[in-house]
């Protein structure tokens, strides 16, 4: 069976006026259904660009990207939006919730674009919020929620349409250690029910929670190895962990 995600000789080159900046160079990567992959590397290593390509937000300059066996390169912007809507859930560093909009409505958003009727949207969004333990905060707006709660709302939004892949770009970057571990715990639970997770981070301790670690530098994959994941347990926070690049 074909892998869920398959990148073959993928490059992405940005053009800044006359200068060409290669962000990702000749990357080959295969990820099977249900894997929890951490992509690590310093800033400028191209990990975010790679995530944008996998998340169908961006198209590679060269090479082929297949998602579930289907080539993504030639799809129109509208078709890519559909793929994102049905197969991919995003979690961002700065949460990216709609301001002055309730948690429930934020979670509903992907279902709005999926064309679901209002009642079904509401029910499913509420269940997703329950899943991240925020059922009692459904009517709260983002500015009434803590950072960790906001990120959990964002995760509920990412999973509400039952995607096959969750792409998380530095999801713990704006959170303290304890809430970081809470968020990682949720990801690990999602991984257990078969959701494929791609996590971009530059924090080693966060990366250790994944079952596979891909290290990047200067747009190339430096190493790619499987590891025994560390169990994220927010109840055991010994000393403040240092977030170093």
């Amino acid at each position: 069976m074909a892998p869920l995600i398959s990148l073959e000789d993928v490059s992405k080159i940005y053009r800044m006026g006359e200068v060409e900046v290669p962000a990702v160079q000749h990357v080959n990567l295969r990820i099977e259904q249900g894997e929890f992959v951490a992509v690590m590397g310093p800033s400028g290593s191209g990990k975010s660009t790679l995530m944008n390509i996998v998340g169908c937000l961006d198209r590679p300059t060269s090479g082929t990207y297949r998602l579930g066996g289907a080539e993504m390169g030639g799809l129109s912007r509208a078709r890519l939006a559909e793929v994102r809507n049905r197969q991919i859930g995003f979690v961002f560093q700065h949460f990216n919730l709609l301001p002055r909009t309730s948690a429930l409505e934020n979670v509903e958003l992907p279902l709005v674009y999926a064309g679901l009727p209002a009642r079904e949207r509401r029910e499913r969004a509420f269940r997703a919020l329950e899943g991240v333990g925020l059922a009692d905060r459904a009517a709260h707006e983002p500015n009434q929620l803590s950072g960790g709660q906001q990120q959990r709302v964002a995760i509920a939004r990412a999973v509400v349409n039952d995607p096959r892949i969750i792409v998380a770009d530095e999801p713990t970057g704006a959170l303290d250690t304890r809430t970081s571990l809470e968020v990682m715990q949720i990801f690990q639970e999602l991984g257990r029910v078969g959701v494929t997770i791609l996590l971009v981070t530059h924090e080693t301790d966060i990366g250790r929670c994944a079952g596979r670690m891909v290290a990047m530098r200067d747009g190339r994959i430096l190493s790619d190895r499987r590891q025994a994941p560390m169990r994220a347990d927010p109840s055991v926070v010994p000393t403040p962990l240092e977030a170093t690049a």
């Binding site: 944008n52 998340g55 937000l57 961006d58 912007r77 509208a78 939006a81 559909e82 994102r84 809507n85 049905r86 995003f90 961002f92 990216n96 919730l97 709609l98 301001p99 002055r100 909009t101 958003l109 992907p110 709005v112 674009y113 999926a114 064309g115 209002a118 939004r157 349409n161």
Partner: protein, 409 residues
């Protein structure tokens, strides 16, 4: 996305910036209100012109005698009597487009009451005249055929004359006045008619039977009719036809060879009326066009605010795209927002415009007429303005790159 979702979304987005939304719609509100108020005033002016001309008489034509030429000096129309009593009878009986015809003999004469006197236009005419001019008798009795055949010394006084002789609101029926020293019994008072389009007071008149007029007030030749003939056509459309028929008839009767000038003239008041109406119509259109320009300016205001809004909400657009919003969805969202602004403004504008028109009508006693068509057209136009001016900002939003949009601070 369904239409309902889009509308709710737009309502929410505009509700978040209530003051700004209100100020943005203001341009459209003023535009639509101005269009509606202006056309209401214009229509009112047109109505007033129609009323004025109708007060002169229904479908009225006036036939005047020709001019006299004395030693190379051309007199005005009516100076040379060319119309005859037989002409009048022929116009009355022979022409299909003519409903009624009446002679109008006029002279200025002093009317004396017991202790007052007043010089007024004394008119000798027939009962048909009252119908032709839509002029009723407010007190007393109307002119009858017997008054005419008997040459009765009876008079109908206009309101102004009554006022001057007896004071306002008095009823002089039954009293006696002297016209050129001849006693006349006042048998009726004419209903108030107001002013002519040229400002002449219709009510400053005394009417007597034409037979009495000739016998007692101002004699004349028995054959010629020393005045004008008032004619009413069978309908408003028939005035032109009546004019042609009368001209043809009179040329025949006066044996005018082809190429010879008419020895009479016919004034078609419907033509003057329609020219006046066209004048007010032009004015109305002009006013409405100026108002429509402000509607356009309102549209530009909407475009401006929508552009600002798209920039402000770049991140929102990025989020929507990331979770599956297609470019078309984003486009629709912003177009509907612009549409809601302009259509909302249009609705408020209609209310304000109607209010302003009613207020004007009430305060200045100016007739204002609001037509449903104007309301529908200006509403439709404001909606169109929203779509046209909303399209560019919406397109800009839909073409954003989701990654750039998400990174936007």
């Amino acid at each position: 996305m369904t239409a309902g979702t889009l509308v709710r979304l737009a309502g929410r987005a505009l509700g978040r910036n209530r003051m700004r939304s209100f100020l943005t719609t203001l341009g459209v509100v003023i535009g639509v209100a101005a269009v509606i108020a202006m056309t209401a005033i214009g229509e009112g002016a047109k109505y007033r012109v129609q009323q004025t001309f109708e007060s002169m008489g229904t479908n009225l034509l006036i036939v005047l005698s020709g001019s006299s030429a004395t030693g190379g000096m051309q007199g005005g129309f009516g100076t040379q009597p060319t119309l005859t009593w037989d002409d009048l009878r022929a116009i009355q009986t022979e022409l299909s487009a003519v409903k009624l015809a009446a002679p109008v003999l006029r002279t200025a004469a002093v009317v004396q009451a017991e202790d007052q006197n007043w010089t007024t236009g004394t008119v000798g005419t027939t009962p048909e005249y009252f119908q032709i001019r839509n002029w009723s008798v407010s007190a007393g009795q109307p002119m009858s055929a017997e008054d005419l055949s008997a040459g009765a010394k009876v008079v109908w006084l206009g309101q102004t004359v009554v006022e001057k002789l007896y004071g306002a609101g008095s009823n002089p029926v039954g009293r006696t006045v002297r016209i050129k020293m001849v006693p006349f019994q006042v048998v009726g008072v004419l209903a108030k008619k107001g002013q002519s389009p040229m400002g002449q007071d219709y009510d400053d008149a005394a009417l007597v039977p034409v037979t009495t007029f000739q016998a007692k007030v101002q004699g004349g030749l028995s054959k010629f009719l020393p005045g004008a003939i008032f004619v009413s056509a069978v309908s408003a459309d028939a005035t032109g036809r009546a004019q042609q028929q009368i001209a043809g008839l009179l040329r025949d009767r006066h044996r005018l060879a082809p190429g010879v000038d008419d020895d009479f003239s016919i004034r078609n008041l419907s033509e003057i009326a329609s020219a006046q109406e066209q004048g007010t119509q032009v004015l109305t259109t002009l006013l409405a066009s100026i108002a429509a320009v402000s509607l356009l300016v309102g549209g530009i205001g909407i475009m401006n605010i929508m552009l600002v809004s798209v920039t402000e909400r770049t991140r929102e657009i990025g989020i929507r795209m990331a979770v599956g919003g297609k470019p078309g969805d984003i486009l629709a969202q912003f177009v509907v927002e612009a549409l809601a602004l302009s259509a909302g403004g249009g609705l408020i504008g209609v209310a304000v415009g109607i209010g302003a028109a009613l207020l004007l009508a009430h305060q200045f006693h100016w007739p204002t007429i609001i037509r449903a068509g104007t309301v529908v057209v200006s509403l439709g136009f404001s909606a169109l303005v929203g779509v046209v001016f909303g399209l560019y900002p919406a397109q800009k939003a839909s073409r954003l790159d989701p990654i750039d949009a998400l990174r936007f601070e």
